[in-house]
Symmetry: C2
Subunit: 303 residues, 2 copies
């Protein structure tokens, strides 16, 4: 009876809710996205929409549910205080809140930030713990994970505990510049040559406001095709991030970097980091989220 539903696992973020119905071995039985990100919910609405829309669609009536992401913020179902780093998977599990019978939500993590304020995340930490759980070799010594996205996270792990992370709003810079600036364009950013050109133009990652202007200058002053601007812009931004964040975190040149997240994004980070001589590996964020939520739920078939 491997196909018996055992858990409803949810990565419930700002713009989207991603849900999986899992059996006791962590295998996916149902897999769906819902346009119910917390930014689209009215106050107090999360519980009702989950019970009325998500459970039925996921064939998850009566199942225990485990969630992570912004659903644990003040915009979500219930606000769960951030857990301070260093934090291991077990700490996260012990700090889960239960806002309704059978529903548990993991807290996010907090650590000292670049300025006086702390840095924070909600959701990526569960993917990291899922990724750590998938290979015993990752659970001792030091690991560096980069999780690209709207707000990319660079995460330092020591012996299975997240000790520090830094957020870079690279994805958001790309989105606003591509839509609203002099660099705006609807063209497809999937252009490896223009991307590589941008990575080179990013230099050491400093003086970003000046590096970005080269995206304009190459079109106006050098006749580069305007439709290559999004790919070039992506190259400058990811190039700058991948040059400056490892330095900011004090990583040695030979430290391997695990890229965890959407394969459509990790491949560009891998490309930029490889150009810089970095050793990288790519790991699917969805598989890691499922593994992390399964572990938090204590599914028997999942360690």
């Amino acid at each position: 009876m491997a196909a018996t539903p055992a858990l409803l696992a949810c990565d419930w973020g700002t713009t989207n809710l991603r849900a999986w119905t899992l059996d006791a071995d962590g295998a996916v039985l149902v897999d769906r996205d819902f346009p119910l990100g917390v930014s689209k919910l009215a106050p107090g609405e999360a519980a009702r929409r989950f019970e009325a829309e998500v459970r039925p669609a996921m064939q998850g009536e009566g199942l225990p549910a485990v969630m992570c992401g912004m659903i644990g913020s003040n915009l979500g179902w219930v606000e769960i205080p951030y857990l301070d780093c260093p934090a291991a998977a077990g700490d996260l599990g012990a700090a889960m809140a239960q806002p309704a019978p059978g529903v548990r939500i993991a807290p996010g993590l907090r650590c000292p930030g670049l300025a006086a304020a702390p840095d924070v995340m909600r959701g990526e930490e569960v993917q990291v713990f899922g990724w750590l759980a998938a290979d015993a070799a990752r659970r001792t010594g030091r690991q560096v994970v980069c999780h690209p996205g709207t707000h990319a996270k660079w995460i330092l792990i020591e012996d299975g505990r997240i000790v520090r992370f830094v957020t870079a709003m690279t994805g958001e810079l790309f989105a606003v510049l591509r839509r609203h600036s002099i660099l705006r364009s609807d063209a497809d950013p999937d252009d490896p040559d223009a991307f590589d050109e941008g990575v080179v133009a990013a230099g050491d990652g400093g003086a970003l406001a000046a590096r970005l202007f080269t995206a304009r200058a190459r079109v106006v002053g050098q006749g580069a095709p305007a439709e290559s601007t999004p790919a070039y812009l992506s190259g400058v931004l990811i190039g700058a991030e991948t040059a400056s964040l490892p330095e900011l975190l004090g990583l040695a040149d030979e430290t391997p970097i695990a890229l965890l997240g959407d394969p459509g994004l990790t491949r560009w980070y891998a490309r930029a980091l490889t150009t810089r001589g970095r050793e990288v590996s790519e790991h699917d964020g969805e598989a890691a989220a499922i593994a992390g939520l399964s572990a938090l739920a204590g599914l028997e078939g999942v360690r």
Copy 2:
């Protein structure tokens, strides 16, 4: 007869046309802005609107007109090729185009850029030459001018010639982040304490995408008032530019920097640079534009 009009001087940019009617001594008789920036003009429309709207409003019928800015671009009255650096005021004067009787337009400048493409400017160079003309001591040796704005220019001058410049799109980053990102806010950015906090958070100017995220973290994680975000954001961006551009240009710590432009902007640059121990001076861009255009026109009363 000091009040006899002698010249119609125009700084005709992307969003705006600023015009001055001057007497033979370069004194301002009429002073007006027109919402006729080249981005708002239909192709071929510049000449007609200038003659039909600007001349009458400026009491400038029959006067010689001298112009600078984007009016000399492919969006303007006539496209005038960029002049390559190094370039002195006399070179600019000799390269002016005359698209209609009595109307002369100065070219912009071009120099090798940060990436393969050249960097370019149209308009700021006339302010720089006006600023140089105002003081004999500026016309020998090295000068460094920073012209803040949507696309800030850092300009190196040797013996009265512009030898190199770099553009940083700091003002545009501020505008798009303030309007369209998670940092959006309509609050007044005139908050010196929050600005200073942002300058400190900018650090050495590297890893800007990560420094910018501190603007979010201080509100979410530390309870800073959301209405201080624009000033803090301005501090991070101007702090990063003023930290990294002098380094990019290889300026020694003791090199004085002349800030030339809108006094409402130069004061924030002065604040950030002074925080970093830089020696700065502030100079009004409008006076410099008038002086530069007067000199290009060869007004007798102006050297």
